[in-house]
Symmetry: C2
Subunit: 343 residues, 2 copies
Amino acid sequence: MVTIQDIAKRVGISKAAVSLYLKDPDTTRVGKDTKVKIAKIVEELNYRPNVIARSLAMQKSNSIGILVPFEGPLFESTFMQQVISGIQSVLFAQGYSIVFLPVKGSDSRSMVRHQLEMGLGHDGFILMGTRYCSTKDMEENAKELSRTGIPFVVLNMPEMKLDINQVIYRDPPEINIFEQYYRLGHRDLVLIGGRRGSLENSIYIDQFKKTSKKWGKNFDSSFILHGDYDKDVAKSALLQYLKSGKKVTGIYCLTDTMAIGAYAAIQEFGLRIPEDISVVGRNDSFFVSIMSPPLSSVKRPIFDEGVKGAELLIGELIRSEKPRKVFLESTLVLRGSVQAQKV
Amino acid sequence: MVTIQDIAKRVGISKAAVSLYLKDPDTTRVGKDTKVKIAKIVEELNYRPNVIARSLAMQKSNSIGILVPFEGPLFESTFMQQVISGIQSVLFAQGYSIVFLPVKGSDSRSMVRHQLEMGLGHDGFILMGTRYCSTKDMEENAKELSRTGIPFVVLNMPEMKLDINQVIYRDPPEINIFEQYYRLGHRDLVLIGGRRGSLENSIYIDQFKKTSKKWGKNFDSSFILHGDYDKDVAKSALLQYLKSGKKVTGIYCLTDTMAIGAYAAIQEFGLRIPEDISVVGRNDSFFVSIMSPPLSSVKRPIFDEGVKGAELLIGELIRSEKPRKVFLESTLVLRGSVQAQKV
DNA sequence: CTGAAAGCGCTTACAG
DNA sequence: CTGAAAGCGCTTACAG
């Protein structure tokens, strides 16, 4: 490996002069002739600075570590794609590298601990919640990060009562899909949730219950199906529900992917969308418009979440801003999959 | 920041002892009592090693830099998602971090040069071709990487006559879609290519020409439409073709996304798939199965490309293997969008 | 069993 | 205008 020392020796000057020139070719601290010589040797030896050494000396690595307590392929989820795209758009513009740290461990606590173990030296961190993270675990993770003194931001988690950077989704009142269904005259609703017992599920089950009560409809836990975030699981769960003779006219799927499964089940059972059953998905994935009929979907501003998160981090990093929380609101994109029900 | 020095001072020993213990808690080079003390202080001060300093000292960073000469969001393309997933599966298992270097510059040469400028110090590189890279530029990039002496692998590019690690796609003879169409009785074919003048286009235009000649069909450059890798562009190009009164019974789209546009154009023009027009896409994207009818598609082993690429790199890194080339073959996944044509 | 020292490749005051 | 030196936080021979 060619070092600054090699260049200095060849030119017959000190390392400092080479470093100065490399940092700023217009510097006045290096003579004109010397500059020419340095440039020549740099070219000749194909010298490139060692970023690691520079990072150590400058106490700044220009890199941000991404912490995602999740085993398996990170980039297959459309959520990750969008949030990372948002992060990338901000960080690259500021000259930061994005570093994905290897995952190891059995639960979100040990995974993040291991990633931190591998990753100190980065200028900041983005800690991302996944469907498998409990809020409690993630709060512990956030506390541990706080103790390092390194700026960080938490994404994709419910609000935490900690003084940290966080971007949080909020469903505005009109995004209560159950309320919308009841208003449209629907009376038999089903929620296709993700992982059984997940925090996400419990939030929506709760909403489902309360809204049903408000409308004087009785609520039964059989109205909750578990799709496990998978289209085939969602399909068979719904198919079984239909075959059991239970009635349903409105379905809310917590991801668009599970809505694909719901479509398949409904078609296989010989019913029509939206004439017999209305369907709403969540995430407004790029493929919903090619489904037939196009799927109505709750759109979370995921790209914006990445942007805001990266901006909070950059704010703390560059302008020493205090940690704060940013709230983003979801919207409902209505398409052909929903119809009012004659009561 | 808490350093190894702080620990040593508090315990009253040398940095070396702390380092030794941290590296291997079972070491015999540190006394039992001392170990206990170190552990206590480490916990108390919430010490974590600085990976940058360690990388410099060990001359190994356990990180691989990803070089993609492409402006804009990297992770929105389904190609990137799959290839990165493959890369991740191998590199994480080996304990390597994956680093995306910020992009700057106007062409693939200057982008890669800039990324290298930012990225030396990583243990290896993965250089990925994009649709906008000329083979010539990428060969220059590869040569420049060679000169650094750092192991690297080139993905998503036609074979280069250089002694480097490279993973290359090969369409086996049966993946000549034009040949398949002719055999099925089709006589009026259209190719919807990507960017005008791109290398990818020219390869398939060439195949189209040769195959037509073989079957005694005249070839006309009007049979080539330019979809620019965009569904709307593809749609309007095909719609214009149909409206001009030209005949077509078989279409090959170089991406599935453009096939979505082709479907829309065909439906808007009042024709049916596959009764009137057959369509074949490329990449076998996850959404093709929900198109109606499901799209037949040429599947490239993109995930495998990532896996093989990472394996070549690891091979050179860990086992000092020589650079070599790996070939992967595409396959055709037939679905409802293709039908034989009565001649 | 443990310490003092050199070194990784840079940057940045400090001198002159 | 330029050089010698200290330092970033680690690891790794080398001594004892």
